[in-house]
Structure formats: structure tokens, C-alpha cells
């Protein structure tokens, strides 16, 4: 094995005419936290299902933990944990019953089962909820249970499909703390999200849009290498300024964020601030700021018409 947990080349999955995943090349180093960032319907779930062996690719090949897919999917299933986007444990079983079932399905013996269940109950703060029905738990509690079940058999590779979509920022931060712990213990984590802040926590991300990979790399590198300059406008008539700038050839996008305008200008433009100043009304101030991941996302996906920036 080449130190890569996941390798894929030309991975494609079509549903009828539509290509949900289109010629995806991936290389996920073992031990990293790797994120798929993309809007609804961009193919995150389909990619996860391809990499877990639940769907067969229409074209291309993937190798996950050294197993060639789809041929060796069964062997792979022993070594991975998968937290599905929609809660897929049993709502009419309690927390304890769900964990017990998961442990048994993975063929754990009694000693290991008890040790692992106690361990995840403590780690995911579920000890007081063992007798609660999964269906009656809050979204955040349910997500902790789902993660607990996914890591119960100590998999070396973890797939998490939008694991924090239903939880508050506080819970999300705690959740990511546990992910960092797992990562520190050597687990490779592949996570999908449409939250920028979540993507920024990943060591590597791939930006997906309409089934295609638009950019990939470390978030910092992506932001540094952004082929655009970001000009921020404050004050004046923001809506008029926005109308004036939209449609200019070197302006990639204009988005209002609170009381500011964020303008992405092509890197080929020598003096982006001057360009912006031409358009804004009196009393407005414009200056260049550091790009963030959302800017990366907007630039990466700009060829897709009708798509606004995610999140």
C-alpha cells in the first residue's frame, strides 16, 4: 500500500443520463481528515457510496485500503465505518440496543463488545442516554450515537456523510474535537459537508460541483493560490454598487454579506480596488482582503450557471 487510504481515477457514476459523479480522481493519504465540499446534489453521497462499495461505478476504478472496488467490497466492509447522511440506526431500539446490535453484527466477542461499548458511551457522552429510544433523541444526540456506532469496531477508515448538518455550532465544535482525537489515533476520516468552517478544519479538501471535482488541496493552499483578488466594500448604496459591478468581464462574483459587499476580481486585473471604486457610490470604502474558503468555492464553481455560493 502506497500510504494512500483512497485512490480513485476517473470514477464515474451515472443514473440514467445524469452523471452524479463524473470522472473523479482522488488520492487521500492515510491518516488525514479529507473533506468533500459542495452544494446539494453535487455528488457527495454518491461518492461515499462508491467508495464504500454500496454502488458500482459506471466507469473508472477505485482502491480503498488496498481493496479494489467493486470486486473486494465485502472485505472492505470489515475495515470501514460509515455514518450515513440520514440516520440509519434503528429508531425503535434504545441507544444500548443499537450499539449491542452493531457490535454483534461486527462479530465482536463479549469482552471486546463490553469494552468498546463502554468506551464509546463515555467518549460520546451517551452514558445517561443508554435506555433512551434512538427515535426520541435530539438531532445532536442522534448524530453522536451514529458516530459511536460507526467507530465501534475501531475501523481504520471512517466515512462521515454530512455528520453535523443538524447540530448547533457548539455541538459541531465538540464533534470535531472527537474527530481530531480519532485522527490523532491514526484513523483516516473522509467527511462531506457544505459548511465552509467545517471544510476549513480538514487537512485536505476536494470541491465538488455537479459531480465534478473543481479544486482540491489543503484549505490554506487553496486560499493562497486563489486565482482572484477579493475586494471588500463597506458603506454607500450596496445594492446599486452590486448591480453596477455584475456582468463586468473581470468581476467573478459580487455577494452581499451583512453590511459588506465581497467582490471577487480576476487576478489578471492589475488594480482591482480601482475597478471596484469606479462602480461604488459616494461614501463607500473599498480595500483588498484575504480570501477565505468560500471565495475559493465560488471561483472553483463559477462555470456552473445558476448556482450560488453554498452555505
Amino acid at each position: 500500500m502506497s500510504g494512500l487510504a483512497v485512490e480513485a481515477s476517473g470514477l464515474t457514476r451515472a443514473f440514467g443520463e445524469k452523471r452524479a459523479v463524473d470522472a473523479l480522481d482522488l488520492a487521500v493519504p492515510a491518516g488525514t481528515i479529507f473533506g468533500f465540499l459542495g452544494p446539494n446534489g453535487c455528488g457527495k453521497t454518491t461518492t461515499m457510496r462508491l467508495l464504500t462499495g454500496l454502488l458500482r461505478p459506471s466507469a473508472g476504478a477505485a482502491r480503498v485500503l488496498g481493496h479494489a472496488l467493486p470486486a473486494e467490497a465485502e472485505a472492505l466492509k470489515r475495515e470501514i465505518g460509515y455514518m450515513t447522511q440520514t440516520f440509519s440506526l434503528y429508531r425503535d431500539l434504545t441507544v444500548a440496543e443499537n450499539l449491542r446490535f452493531t457490535a454483534d453484527i461486527h462479530g465482536m466477542n463479549a469482552a471486546r463488545r463490553r469494552r468498546r461499548i463502554d468506551d464509546v458511551l463515555a467518549r460520546f457522552d451517551l452514558e445517561d442516554l443508554t435506555r433512551q429510544m434512538a427515535g426520541s433523541m435530539s438531532g445532536g444526540q442522534r448524530q453522536r450515537l451514529a458516530l459511536a456506532a460507526a467507530v465501534l469496531h475501531e475501523p481504520g477508515l471512517l466515512f462521515l456523510d454530512e455528520p453535523t448538518s443538524a447540530v448547533d455550532p457548539e455541538t459541531r465544535r465538540d464533534f470535531w474535537e472527537t474527530l481530531f482525537d480519532l485522527s490523532a489515533a491514526g484513523v483516516t476520516i473522509i467527511v462531506s459537508t457544505h459548511f465552509m468552517d467545517e471544510a476549513e478544519r480538514c487537512q485536505q479538501i476536494a470541491i465538488l460541483d455537479q459531480g465534478r471535482k473543481r479544486a482540491d488541496g489543503a484549505p490554506d493552499a487553496l486560499m493562497a493560490g486563489l486565482p482572484a483578488q477579493v475586494v471588500q466594500v463597506e458603506g454607500g448604496d450596496l445594492r446599486a454598487a452590486k448591480r453596477a459591478m455584475q456582468g463586468r468581464p473581470s468581476v467573478i462574483s459580487v455577494a452581499q454579506i451583512g453590511t459588506r459587499l465581497r467582490v471577487l476580481v480576476d487576478r489578471s486585473e492589475n488594480d482591482p480596488v480601482a475597478l471596484v471604486r469606479e462602480a461604488v457610490t459616494a461614501g463607500a470604502e473599498a480595500h483588498v482582503v484575504r480570501p477565505n474558503l468560500e471565495d475559493v468555492f465560488v471561483v472553483a464553481t463559477r462555470h456552473a450557471p445558476g448556482e450560488d455560493a453554498a452555505a
Partner: protein, 381 residues
Amino acid sequence: MTALRRILAVLRKEIWQLRRDRLTFGMVVMIPLIQLLLFGFAINTNLRHIPAVLVDHSQSGLSRALVQMVEATQVVTFTERTVDVDEAERLIAGAKVRAAFIIPEDLYQRAVTSPATGFATPPSTDDVTARPVAQWIVDGSDTVVAGAIRSLRAMPLAELFRKPANRSVPTFEVAFYYNPEQRTVVNIVPGLVGIILTMTMIMFTSAAIVRETERGNTEMLITTPIRPIELMVGKIIPYMVIGFIQVGIILGLGKLVFNVPMQGTLADLFVVTLLFILASLSLGLVISTVAKSQLQAMQMTVFFLLPSILLSGFMFPYEGMPVAAQRIADVLPATHFMVAIRGVVLRDAGLAELSGHLWFLAGFAILGLIVAALRFRKRLD
């Protein structure tokens, strides 16, 4: 070892879920209980007391004696009386009665020349003086009703003139084995085991896999190392136990309430019902892998349930059905089970005598299980 552990895991999970599903749990007991009482009391192919209208144009002592004799057979009860034949026909058309008994004015003349009264010397067929003494008009649309009244056609009337009944020796002696009193319920109760098991066993398991998919559990299940066959086996074991509980309820109550005998051994009964339960459960699993929703599963269950009720020999004797229907019946597990369970319960038939049917059930169960396991793909496409 891990295979066993996984089977047990599925089994335990099914029990946990079942225990919380009070309604289903209640149905396990209520379905056999209610159906047994309903069918046991309601289905009766020995028709008695068919409502009829009496049209007596004779109005004589003789006609009144004739009416008494007819009523004494218990086949009909005269609930209406009229002197108008048209009125009688209207009553039949309106389903107030099923038959009309019309006694002509010249009853006496007809009676004395009738061979049924035993006065006349045995008539030759062209004896014009001998005519039927009275007439039945019957709603012939229901053949069972019609058949019951037809049985009155050659009723002896010797007693009409207080002559001793003709004690002639019957041409054939008929001995009714296994059900000497000819009670319908004796045949119904063991048959009902087959119907109720068909219904509940197929219904429970036909939903078993689709339900997991509908609730989103499948995506999790198929990412684990579980094998399809382990899942299938784990899912049917709890329902097997339920099946036996139902058999116990039906046969136990059948004995208590309807005095249906249990001639065979419990061991034979166990083998026969086990095979049938397995066959039904595996059919349910196959349905479950085909259906896309629980509603579809239910529809497919009914698709098998109706022929199982109508063609299996539960309602109508297998022998009386046209060959095409028999071929259809032959592939239904219920048909083979009907023969086998009635054999064990009523006739103390041994397993060897029933082996053909038992092999069919065993083969059906294994085939079903294999098909279900093969159809259940650990993939989403």
C-alpha cells in the same frame, strides 16, 4: 461462530422491535383466536333451516301433515305463508326466502298414486297416473342451497298415511370415518391453521426487508460484514416461534370449544407445521426482496393469500377442482399443508404417508430462502 453471533444479533433485534410493536404482538394472538371462533361457528356446509315460503292450495289435514314432515327434516323452515304463487316468487327474488313449496289442490289424488307413499304398486316409468305430489321452486343461484333442497326430492312419504316407514335395506352401507357426526368444524379447524399461518407468516416477513429499506436502515446494514443468509435466517426465527404459538391457539381452542380431536402425535404435528411455517416465511422473504414498499408487500401477500384460501382445499375439495386449478393449487404450500395437517390431526397419518407433501414444503422453504438471500444484494444498485 461469528455467523451464529450475527444471526443471533438479528434475531434479538427483531424480538426487541416486535416487543415494542404492541399492535402486531396483539394480532399474533387475536388473529387466530377471532378467526377460529368466526369460522368455527360460521362455516357450515350442512345447510339447515333454509327459509322458505309455503303456498298451500290444498288446505287439508293431509297438506298440514305433509308440511310437518318436510319441516321435520330440518332442511327448510317455513317463514312465510301465502296462497299466491306470484307473491312467492317475489319473496324469492327479494331474498326473503330461498325456496317456495307449492302444494296443489289435488294433493290427495296425487299422494295416493305416488310411489313415495307406498300405496301404489311399484309404478312403471310411463305410469301417467303417478305425478309428483307437490312442487319446490328454488333460488338455484347458490348451488349449496339448491343441493340441500334437491335432497328432499325423493323424500319417502309413507308416514303421511301413518304407515310404518319403509325399512328396506340400503343399497350401500356408508361408514363415515374420522368425522362420524359429519360436523363441518372438524375439517375447518385444521384447515384454518393453514390459512392463518399463510396470512400471518407471509405478512410478517414480506414486510421484513422492505421495512428496513423504508426506514433507511438498509444502508447501514449493508455496510457491515453481515451475510444475506444470516440476515434472512435471523429474521425468520422469531416468526417461527410466533407461528407455533398460533398453531397452539387454534388447535387448543379447536379441541376445547369445538371438540376437534387430535389423533396424531405432537411430534408429527411439529414436523408438519414447522415445514409449512418455514415455507411461508421464506415466501414472505422473497416478496420482501421484490417489493419496493410495505404496501406493495401487502398486495403481494394478498395475491398469495386468496388462492391459498380458495384453491388449497380449505374451502372446496381439491378433487372437485378443474385440472388447471389443481395445477395452480399444487404450487401453493397451503395445498400440501392442508392434506398434511388434516392427515395428522384427523386421521393420525404418519409422516411416511405424507412424505410427498412434506418434501414439497421442505423444498419450497429452502428454495425460497436461497432466492431471498440471492436477491438481497449488499448494494444499493
